[in-house]
Symmetry: C2
Subunit: 220 residues, 2 copies
DNA sequence: GTCGGATTGTGAAAGTGTTCACAAGCATGG
DNA sequence: CCATGCTTGTGAACACTTTCACAATCCGAC
């Protein structure tokens, strides 16, 4: 079987959230149709996504909410706890530390690093900020699996190098720069400014701009 | 010409960043090849992306860094200032207020709203937190174009409804729930937990799990 | 003026992801 | 125990995206 697409994994994450709330509501079964409607996709899409990993439904009835939720949890690795290192104890970093959704999904931020010696030793939500130079040592000691980068963009690449040298293979980067992943290393870049730009593109496009029909777009 | 894909818009945003830094470095021209290498895509991809909007290059030479940057700015709507409302002055909201990249791209957060009366009237980075009930009035007064939702997930849908009722058409949502967009309204959902889940999926998949070859994945 | 080297712009081909459509299969009720 | 109604699982069709490949064309050197 071929590699699973990123889009499928993203949708599984979304289904997982719906299943959790259906379970809370006490619902036992759910059909691909019901799940699809909640996420604006087709029922066939839901079934295809799941069929990549096996057969989990019962024809005529649908899927067991609880079983499907557990299954997706295992697929996504949510059935266990991941130890996460956060680098950069600035405003975004501090917000992320207090983000409860991470912990709820099994992502525990177990260490925060910074290179600002004024911050090192201070606390953020019960976590002592550590000197970035202790990173290699702590990755081993705390059995860290994942890292989050929340440092200014000029420091991001060097922090990524450091993390990779310390043995980490999975990095979530919030600095607005596309970090490159060497083979075997996975880096996901989250860029919030780009999200806003997609909106402003639409705002412009809807109003005045039609592709191929826009004289003032020609280079000056 | 057909509708431009989201992927293309995202890449334009990324090219834009490279162009800005090339311009700072004083470079005059850039080839599709050079731009492609910076972003891990093919040169053909770069050219196709640009060709959706017109012809901006010179054969044999490449693209003028400065002109191409301005052109993309116009396509994405970065040549002007957008007034942004932020709803939710919690930890994420406060981080977003101090996020300089937004302002640099022309996204000015001009108002912050909250429903917690203890917070209303207090300041965040020079912005006074306003009572959410004043939102409709302020959208008009401040000519607000875009909104960012940074409230807990249970409040997100009702805040979205409120924003739409106040006349806003573009919303960036950070609550971990997929808000649905009625026709004419665009909502982009940013879900950071999903980003981590994509990483943990890979971590699990790389180690032990191969699709279609995983006995313990069968429902219990 | 024209030749050579370089790079664009773009149809066509290849590759991916999504939707369709229906046989297969299960639970329930008579 | 079989007919009925519903929903899954999946190959095939379709749609969209990316890559290929090359003619078009521009600059600068001679
Ligand atoms: N603030 C936001 O809302 C927001 C939103 C999206 C993305 N971002 C991005 O996230 C990153 C952090 O943003 P922020 O607003 O928290 O910035 P910040 O300046 O508040 O914090 C950055 C922190 O990183 C530390 N740091 C700098 N270099 C370091 C290094 N080499 N090693 C370890 N630590 C180092 C600094 O000491 C500081 O504590 C930036 O790249 C920013 O563009 C921020
Ligand atoms: N903290 C993070 O790093 C982080 C990261 C990603 C996503 N998020 C999401 O962003 C949202 C906000 O997170 P947070 O950590 O800032 O939470 P928070 O509790 O610190 O802040 C939420 C704010 O929203 C306000 N609020 C609640 N209901 C409201 C309403 N109906 N109208 C106006 N304001 C209202 C609250 O008074 C509070 O000030 C949540 O949905 C969270 O899941 C947070």
């Amino acid at each position: 079987m071929s590699r699973i697409s990123d889009a499928t994994i993203t949708r599984l994450s979304q289904y997982y959230r719906s299943l959790a709330s259906l379970e809370e509501g006490g619902q036992e079964m759910v059909s691909s149709m019901a799940l699809a409607r909640k996420h604006g996709v087709t029922p066939a899409q839901v079934r295809k996504d799941l069929s990549c990993f096996g057969q989990f439904g019962t024809r005529g009835l649908g899927y067991s909410v609880c079983q499907l939720k557990e299954t997706i949890a295992r697929i996504l690795g949510l059935h266990r706890i991941w130890n996460v290192a956060l680098v950069g104890a600035g405003s975004l970093g501090s917000a992320l530390i207090s983000y409860k959704e991470f912990k709820r999904q099994g992502f525990h931020i177990v260490a925060v690093f910074d290179n600002d010696l004024d911050k090192v030793g201070k606390k953020r939500r019960g976590l002592t900020i550590l000197d970035i130079r202790r990173l290699p040592q702590m990755v081993k000691k705390l059995d860290i699996n994942l890292a989050i980068i929340a440092v200014p963009k000029d420091a991001a690449q060097s922090v990524a190098d450091l993390l990779i040298k310390a043995g980490l293979k999975m990095i979530l980067n919030f600095a607005p720069i596309s970090l490159k992943a060497s083979p075997g290393i996975t880096i996901r870049n989250v860029n919030m400014a780009i999200e806003l730009e997609a909106l402003s593109y639409r705002l412009v496009a809807d109003k005045s701009f039609r592709p191929g029909n826009n004289p003032q777009l020609t280079p000056v």
